[in-house]
């Protein structure tokens, strides 16, 4: 194939990627968009395979068969509750692939003739190695945290910022040396090793509830690493795809930060959610003493019986309890009784952007019942019963009303404005932010202490009996 034809095919592929992402602007067009994007990828791969530069195919075929089998089995088996881990690990593989490709191209260029290595090539190779190394190892740690292999807590130690700073400087120094002396390939590998440690150090101090930000940020990094590799190979389709992904991850990162009213620097370096929860027990007891009303499924069923509008507010607890199908059953039952049912989704509910929506879609909840925060907040005053299941900080009124709490300024779902709030929760333990929630002590709040799934199933049974 002539090089121009190959480039033209890459242009077609890049255009299909853009169309594919455009399709994601609505659930109706999204499936087709994803297929267009996959078609673009297929074209790019086929064109590359028939490119005459390739002399032997066995390693390529072996790699594709192995990777394809792992990817396919994994993608078809992974439960929707484990989607954050899946995406987290995929980010890592993307970053890893970028480092390896940049490294291979670099080694080859040095073997050909080290003198002709351009500045663009050198800078891009080092950028790809640095970003890709951080992405790969950072993603592995994120995966470990979400999977429960690594502590979900914000693990901090004295001087960790200094250590991270030193590693970053060392990585940059190795990169600069590599650019200035491209014939010494060891600088590249030293830099990749430093970037790997840096990736681990950056993600270990980040707590579980901040994972949506980290996953989105690593997503952005994996795109930037791909774009950098595009500069190494002077390949347009890599650059275009990498920038699309980089932009996507960046936008998601900023949406997540905004939804927590925190800056990216604060999420990355402040280490909220460490081991300090114990100190707050005193004021929490005062707050809750004698005011918390514990309820039963039967009592809630009676309240629901006279309701006309019910809103569910799911949080990470729903994912942990695998309660999405039980919630769907209850919602369907209420709708059959003529009650208007909606789901209010906070942007950072769960462990990744859109986590709750995917779980509820899996349980066959129609997407038009899923309301974003701003829209949901216009409806709570007209809501008879709001059922909070496995959410805490995102419904804490302190974020709205109090000054100087870790949550202050974070936009919340104003569930306390509804006539009755039922909170399904195992205990009064604080959420990720480590502060008590006055909602639980509010006059219109009933606490249903139980496991999420059990409680919802009992509720469904109780509603059926009325």
């Amino acid at each position: 194939m002539s090089p121009d034809l190959v480039r033209f095919a890459y242009l077609v592929a890049a255009s299909l990627f853009v169309f594919g992402l455009k399709g994601l602007s609505h659930p109706r067009t999204a499936v087709r968009g994803n297929r267009l994007s996959a078609l673009g990828m297929f074209i790019a791969i086929v064109v590359t395979l028939i490119d005459q530069q390739i002399v032997r195919f066995e390693f390529i075929v072996a790699g594709i068969v192995l990777g394809g089998a792992i990817g396919a089995i994994w993608a078809l088996k992974v439960p929707m509750t484990a989607m954050p881990q899946f995406v987290g690990l995929c980010n890592g593989f993307g970053g890893g692939a970028s480092v390896l490709v940049a490294g291979a191209a670099y080694v080859e260029a040095v073997l050909r003739s080290a003198d002709t290595i351009s500045m663009q090539f050198g800078i891009a190779t080092m950028a790809s190695g640095l970003i890709g190394g951080v992405t790969f190892w950072g993603s592995l740690i994120a995966f470990g945290k979400l999977q429960g292999i690594v502590s979900e807590k914000a693990v901090r130690f004295t001087g960790d910022h200094v250590l991270k700073g030193l590693f970053l400087l060392a990585g940059l120094a190795a990169g600069v040396l590599g650019i200035l002396q491209p014939e010494n390939t060891q600088y590249f590998w030293i830099m990749v090793a430093i970037a790997s440690v840096l990736g681990i150090l950056l993600v270990v101090p980040i707590g579980g509830a901040d994972m949506p930000v980290v996953i989105a940020l690593l997503n952005s990094y994996s795109g930037m690493a791909a774009a950098a590799t595009g500069f190494v190979l002077s390949n347009n389709v890599l650059i275009i795809s990498g920038s699309l992904v980089g932009a996507s991850g960046f936008i998601l990162t900023s949406i997540m930060c905004k939804a927590m009213n925190r800056s990216l620097a604060n999420v990355m370096f402040a280490g909220v959610g460490g081991d300090s929860g114990g100190d707050d027990a005193g004021p929490a007891d005062d707050l809750y003493e004698g005011k918390v009303k514990s309820t039963t499924a039967e009592e809630v069923a009676m309240v629901l019986d006279s309701a006309r509008r019910v809103v569910f507010v799911p949080g990470y607890g729903m994912a942990v309890a695998q309660a999405q199908h039980a919630v769907r059953d209850l919602a369907n039952l209420l709708e059959a009784d003529g009650i208007e049912v909606e789901f209010a989704i906070h942007p950072v509910a769960g462990r990744m952007p859109g986590h709750m929506n995917v779980l509820l879609a899996e349980a066959d909840v129609p997407y038009d019942r899923l309301k974003e925060m701003d829209e949901a907040n216009t409806g709570f005053e007209q809501t008879d019963v709001t059922i909070v299941i496995g959410a805490n900080d995102v419904v804490n009124p302190l974020a709205r009303d109090a000054a100087d709490t870790p949550l202050t300024g974070m936009p919340i779902l104003n569930v306390d404005k509804s006539r009755t709030v039922v909170v399904i929760k195992r205990s009064l333990s604080p959420g990720f932010a480590g502060i008590p929630n006055p909602l639980f002590a509010a006059d219109n709040c009933l606490m249903l202490f139980a496991d999420g799934k059990d409680a919802v199933q009992q509720l469904t049974a109780a509603v059926n009996e009325i």
């Binding site: 390739i54 990777g67 990817g71 990498g242 992904v245 932009a247 929506n357 995917v358």
Partner: protein, 93 residues
């Protein structure tokens, strides 16, 4: 230098396109957006294929083959899982 400027131009324009397109994705599709964009970043597979197939040296072949495995997991896993998720959103119109 001319070539560097040319591809830098493409890079900057692609970032703008990315911002325009992605801001129109509604929050309910943010998870499929992440998995779908993950699949797209698997485009490094074409660089991996070239490294694994040109057989320039043992080291480049090893690096290239490992990259093919990683990138293929991303491409196949990413598109399949995205399709699975989007089908769930579509089911109930």
């Amino acid at each position: 230098m001319g070539e560097t400027i040319a591809i830098l131009t493409i890079f900057v324009l692609a970032v703008f396109v990315g911002f325009e397109v992605i801001t129109k994705v509604p929050p309910i599709l943010h998870t499929p957006l992440m998995s779908g964009s993950n699949a797209i970043s698997g485009i490094t597979i074409i660089g991996a294929i070239l490294s694994a197939g040109t057989q320039y040296s043992t080291l480049t072949t090893v690096l290239g083959t490992a990259a093919v495995v990683f990138a293929t997991i991303n491409v196949v896993g990413g598109y399949l899982v995205t399709n699975r998720m989007l089908d769930m959103f579509k089911r109930k119109e």
